[in-house]
């Protein structure tokens, strides 16, 4: 019987298989950042172990870094210590680090693809749940905890149980103004935050095939928000075109060998998935969240749901709690929700295409007086590219703040946070309570909706602008 893409990549990386035990899976690339690694390096030192493959490991500073005044020392002493700890650890263990101020510094899931280190058929891990991003290349990429970070540093393999497979097929053509962010938010709302638990999702169908690499990364990025550790898209010409010529992409005869192999990384026609989910692209619209988990979303044209209509008591309680936290009344039109802050950035939507899309909406318009609009490129290379295209001028002229690269307000580990009660439209990935700052209220949106919302001051699509 045929195999799925995920099964093929898995099988290629099994170092050891024994009945009744997890497989030992070889890891091709290990991405490291400052937050989930210090205790892992301490563990190595305590046990007197080395990093087995520094040449398959790369580190960057992203979660903690300020996005202003990056040439100055980090003001928060605890953040500074964490960054300095990463620098010491990388120096001691011989790991390449893209530190603040480096032209290749940026969010770990932005720089891997940018450098050409993320390639089809690889296994990629990082102590960060959004590692699923790299699955857009047909890699098997998943987030791990700090104990596993230490394990990979020491051994370059991980004991893993073989996951089940789920196909999410999006047929048809996306309507104008509907982005890959809207697709994944709709998928999560459909299958729920636990729907993907235990599965690797493969995204398929014409609407997925038509997406650019960056748009595919947005889809795979939020697989974890549906509970799936990994999301994948089979590599194709779009993938190869994106990779060709990148610093770490194969060259010459190696390129041909690699592409020939990558072409085999597709789900066989006679393979079956454990679960099949199908969506019709034509039915999708701009999608936003109203609640406190990424599954609590609805089309922008809808209203805040009424908990009284929910039969299941547990689910009803969850919705009631969410509306109370979000300060929303049932029946309120989503378009009537006013925001204080708009955040454009993150590993979900901080790439050049995201900035271009938002800038195109903002061009010739102004950010509403009541709105603070933060634009945070996903990497310093994205920032430089945007500046070379003049996007920074469009943002600044419209009244937005143009920042340096980092995770920023996606999780508020740096000074970019919401104040209690403040409401945001955010292109990031999580609307959990307090995610962007204690008491902050988050609505997840696409870059297009973010830009339009910045102009009107309430949740809006570009089609709402005059």
């Amino acid at each position: 019987m045929g195999r799925t893409l995920a099964e093929k990549v898995w099988d290629e990386h099994v170092v050891r298989h024994a009945q009744g035990e997890p497989d030992l899976l070889y890891i091709d690339l290990h991405l490291v950042h400052e937050v989930t690694s210090p205790q892992a390096f301490d563990g190595l030192r305590l046990a007197g172990r080395q990093v087995r493959r520094p040449d398959l490991t790369i580190a960057t500073e992203d979660h903690n870094v300020p996005t202003t005044n990056i040439d100055q020392p980090i003001a928060d002493p605890v953040s500074r210590t964490q960054i300095e700890t990463l620098r010491r650890n990388c120096a001691e263990f011989g790991i390449r680090l893209h530190a603040m101020g480096d032209a290749s510094q940026g969010i770990v899931h932005v720089i891997g693809p940018q450098l050409g280190l993320t390639q089809p058929g690889m296994t990629i891990v990082c102590g960060d749940s959004h590692t699923s991003t790299h699955g857009a290349f047909g890699a098997l990429a998943f987030g791990i905890g700090t104990s596993e970070v230490e394990h990979v540093l020491a051994t370059q393999v991980l004991p893993q149980s073989r996951p089940k497979t789920m196909a999410v097929t999006v047929n048809g053509v996306l309507p104008v103004g509907v982005t890959s962010k809207d697709v994944i938010l709709a998928v999560i709302a459909k299958i729920g935050t636990g729907g993907g638990q235990g599965y690797v999702i493969e995204y398929r169908g014409d609407a997925i095939r038509a997406l650019s690499m960056e748009a595919r990364m947005t889809v795979c990025n939020m697989s974890i928000e549906a509970g799936a550790r990994a999301g994948m898209i089979a590599p194709d010409e779009t993938t190869f075109e994106y990779l060709a010529g990148r610093p770490h992409a194969p060259r010459g005869a190696d390129w041909d060998t690699a592409v020939a192999h990558w072409r085999t990384l597709v789900t066989d026609a006679d393979a079956t998935f454990d679960v099949d989910v199908v969506l019709d692209a034509a039915e999708l619209t701009p999608f936003v969240t109203w609640g406190t988990n990424p599954g609590q979303g609805a089309p922008l044209g809808a209203s805040v749901p009424d908990p009284a209509t929910i039969a299941d008591a547990g689910e009803r309680g969850t919705v009631e709690r969410a509306l109370e936290y979000m300060g929303l009344d049932a029946g309120t039109k989503l378009r009537d929700i006013k925001v204080d802050t708009v955040f454009l950035g993150s590993c979900t939507n901080g790439r050049i295409e995201d900035l271009r899309a938002a800038a195109a909406v903002l061009q010739g318009r102004k950010v509403a007086d009541s709105v603070r609009f933060l634009v945070v490129p996903g990497s310093m290379a994205v920032k430089a590219q945007a500046e070379s295209e003049g996007l920074d001028r469009i943002f600044v002229d419209a009244g937005a703040e143009w920042r340096s690269a980092g995770c920023s307000m996606c999780l508020g580990m740096n000074p970019d946070q919401l104040a209690p009660g403040e409401r945001s439209a955010s292109t990031s990935n999580r609307n959990f309570e307090g995610r962007q700052g204690k008491g902050g209220r988050t609505h997840l949106v696409s870059p297009l909706v973010a830009a339009a919302t910045a102009v009107t001051g309430h949740l809006s699509a570009p089609s709402d602008l005059s």
């Binding site: 009744g20 205790q39 509970g227």
Partner: protein, 199 residues
Amino acid sequence: MEKFTTHTGRALPLRRNNVDTDQIIPAVYLKRVTRTGFEDGLFAAWRSDPDFVLNKPEYAGADVLVAGPDFGTGSSREHAVWALQNYGFRAVISPRFADIFRGNSLKGGLLTVLIDEVDVEALWQAIEANPTTQVTVDLVSREVRYDHVVLGFEIDDYTRWRLMEGLDDIGLTLRHADDVDIFESHRPSWKPRTLPAEV
């Protein structure tokens, strides 16, 4: 890792679904570089409410957490496991856990136990009726027991053995270092390396 065989203690009824790891420990607490001292961050935002279950005196000292479905969703932060352990929890019972959280917990010796939603509801009611109810989480017999109730739970043999022996995963893997050497000798040469840096 400390061995886990069986544990008996009082339980905390956390009647919430979808408890994400940002709630278990908010990001601002993740700046530390140690594995200890995260107890102050456990459920930090919710604990500012005096009525939050963790603040109720009748549950003081409870070390088995009983939560609604989809516990531990979101961020991969293992700090969530450390915060629960640092606070004193030995086990978490829920109808469904997020994959990464579950993996982290079982690596670190915090036993995560899956039981059905109706059984969790009954357990909540029993604890709420009598907060001194003794709840036993028995990994050896794969059972949760309280009052006269016995609930079986599933956990794979390998993970159970590893927890009962308190074995270090890295040590187990290093027994197979030869297999890793052999695998590496066959890896395609065109696969990317981060060193030397080409940019």
